[in-house]
């Protein structure tokens, strides 16, 4: 199970990496084509099957929604409010990302150091993802609140709950990914275990860590929306989704636009991690 969550992060098969420049061109083209195809299919389906706006609003009206003014026409543009909400969600997600990332790395380091702890805890790290977090999100928020955590932190903790898992698994694999002979080599230098960690295990684990962080990035956005949606919040994409769903019948485009923003938010975060990977691991990093 662990392996493939990691695999989700890759999209370019190893064999085709050699023909990268060519591929990238054809890929950009293919993506653009697919976007065009979707738009055409969307609008023609609407036309052909007489789909009402309630089922499928026009793409144009979804995009135009961002330019409407709120508060009865005198407030800020809806797009601006959406940025505000997206920022709140991103703030929770980033905190959760960092918390989950740190926890995941720590767990992986501990597991590498102690097989006993690994055997004792790893099954529950995997099992933790079986818990329907949405169902217990309200209990988490109330429980954390009882312990004194502010609301945004409770949501960040839910995000961290979804984030730490891929990081633990990915980092664990990464720390064990050092080439077979490199450990005896370090021993031959009489390297201390902390030297082995900093000079061998950690650098070797970076590509794995980043693959995991890419998954974690999107998971943290999902986590913070899961925290906002059932529990409510002052701001956030989750709040917009609830509100937009409530008023869907009169303004369906709001909900579609909110989903669009949520997806873009996830993509941007993902892209930011890819960028960080290129900067840190180097240009040979996989997408």
């Amino acid at each position: 199970m662990s392996d493939d969550l990691i695999l989700l992060g890759h999209d370019v098969p190893a064999a085709s990496r050699r023909v990268r420049p060519l591929l990238r061109e054809s890929r950009t083209f293919a993506v653009i084509t697919l976007v065009v195809v979707i738009v055409v299919l969307w609008e023609s389906a609407k036309l052909l099957f007489h789909l009402p706006d309630r089922k499928l609003p026009h793409i144009g009206s979804i995009l135009l929604e961002f330019g409407t003014r709120t508060q009865g026409g005198s407030g800020p543009y809806w797009g601006v409010l959406m940025l505000n909400n997206a920022a709140a969600t991103l703030g929770e997600a980033l905190t959760g990302f960092v918390l989950g990332g740190v926890l995941g790395c720590l767990l992986a380091v501990v597991f590498t150091a102690s097989p006993l702890l690994e055997r004792g805890l790893l099954p529950y790290v995997v099992g933790s993802q079986l818990v329907p977090i949405l169902a217990i999100a309200p209990m988490v928020v109330i429980g954390m609140g009882h312990l004194g955590a502010p609301d945004w932190l409770s949501k960040a903790i839910i995000a961290a709950y979804l984030t730490f898992f891929p990081v633990t698994i990915g980092m664990l694999r990464g720390l064990r990914s050092a080439p077979p002979d490199s450990l005896p080599l370090m021993h031959s230098y009489a390297a201390s275990s902390s030297q082995i960690f900093w000079k061998l295990r950690l650098p070797a684990s970076l590509p794995y860590l980043f693959t995991a962080l890419k998954i974690a990035a999107t998971a943290s956005i999902i986590g913070s929306i899961i925290g906002e949606l059932p529990v409510g919040a002052a701001r956030g994409i989750g709040v917009v989704v609830v509100n937009a769903a409530q008023y869907y019948n009169s303004r369906p485009q709001n909900l579609w636009a909110a989903v669009l923003v949520a997806s873009l938010l996830g993509l941007c975060f993902y892209g930011a991690v890819v960028l960080a990977e290129r900067l840190i691991v180097g240009p040979q990093a996989q997408t």
């Binding site: 199970m1 392996d3 493939d4 969550l5 695999l7 989700l8 992060g9 890759h10 999209d11 098969p13 064999a15 591929l23 054809s26 890929r27 293919a30 993506v31 697919l34 309630r54 089922k55 055997r119 004792g120 805890l121 790893l122 529950y124 995997v126 099992g127 993802q129 079986l130 818990v131 329907p132 949405l134 169902a135 209990m139 109330i142 429980g143 009882h146 998954i215 999107t218 956005i221 999902i222 929306i225 899961i226 949606l229 059932p230 994409i237 989750g238 989704v241 937009a244 869907y248 909900l255 579609w256 909110a258 989903v259 949520a262 997806s263 938010l265 996830g266 993509l267 975060f269 993902y270």
Partner: protein
């Protein structure tokens, strides 16, 4: 490596017992420790039931309402199963097409990767509008979407996994492309496919429960959890969550067993 595996089967019962204890002992010990600490902590610090009911109370509810919980669990499992079947078979099918016609892959795979970024929970109200938020249809669709992309990506990678030499070998036998596909790519993709199925198994249960959050009959696990938590019946809600976890684990284990049966050669596929 091969020798080690051969030896494991020849171990004496006592030695096998020790190996088993070493494999699972720490995990069981952790479980016991957590349960005891939880129970003692809740009682010692007088933690309110609405924050965290003690495991004994959850266990009592589980026994008391066992058959009822299992019944609503099966209703939810039914949604998960259908979504799983549809999502995984579509994912595998599209992966096959993508390997055959690479432009499909080039157009679709970035979307498959991007789809991880789409919070399915935000999409759920829309799926409800299309397929009925209180019927099983929308749940099946959501589970299918959730399982489609991991299956697609993994199967695609699996189909591309054979080494160039393995393909050249087929080429040297003048094998038809159908033959190399069926005899090389498909079997090579099986471990990848099963990995996807294992993720999808747990995802499908989670997905069904998440989508029940957006409406459904009272006999659904997700509806039961939220409705019980809403009126302060926390032990009941937790008991239902335990059932949900159990279902996810059982589904996962079924796939693991199926994997062992289908791929007897693959003895290292455990995680």
């Amino acid at each position: 490596m091969a020798v080690v595996q051969a030896n494991l089967k020849q171990l004496s019962p006592a030695a096998r017992g020790r190996a088993f204890a070493w494999r699972w002992g720490p995990a069981l010990a952790t479980l016991l420790l957590v349960l005891v600490l939880w129970e003692v902590g809740v009682r010692l610090f007088h933690v309110a039931v609405y924050l965290l009911p003690p495991p004994s109370l959850i266990g009592a509810r589980l026994l008391e309402r066992g058959s009822f919980l299992l019944g609503i669990g099966l209703y939810t499992f039914e949604e998960a199963l259908w979504g799983f079947i549809i999502g995984c078979s579509l994912g595998a099918a599209v992966a096959v097409l993508s390997v055959r016609w690479r432009w499909i892959a080039h157009g679709l795979l970035p979307f498959a990767v991007a789809s991880n970024a789409v919070p399915i929970i935000a999409l759920a109200p829309l799926v409800g509008i299309w397929f009925g938020s209180t019927t099983q249809g929308s749940k099946i669709v959501i589970v299918a979407i959730m399982t489609f992309f991991p299956t697609l990506l993994n199967t695609y990678r699996g189909l591309l996994s054979p080494a160039p030499e393995a393909l050249e070998l087929m080429h040297s036998y003048a094998a038809t492309s159908t033959q190399s596909f069926l005899k090389l790519r498909v079997p090579a993709a099986l471990p990848f496919l099963f990995n996807a199925l294992k993720i999808s198994a747990t995802l499908s249960i989670i997905g069904a429960i998440v989508s029940e959050f957006f409406g459904g009959p009272l006999k659904a696990l997700g509806v039961y959890i939220t409705s019980q938590a809403g009126i302060g019946h926390y032990a009941e809600a937790w008991a239902a969550i335990v059932v949900a976890c159990g279902l996810g684990m059982a589904f996962y284990l079924v796939i693991v067993v199926a994997e062992r049966l289908v791929m007897p050669w693959n003895t290292t596929g455990e995680s």
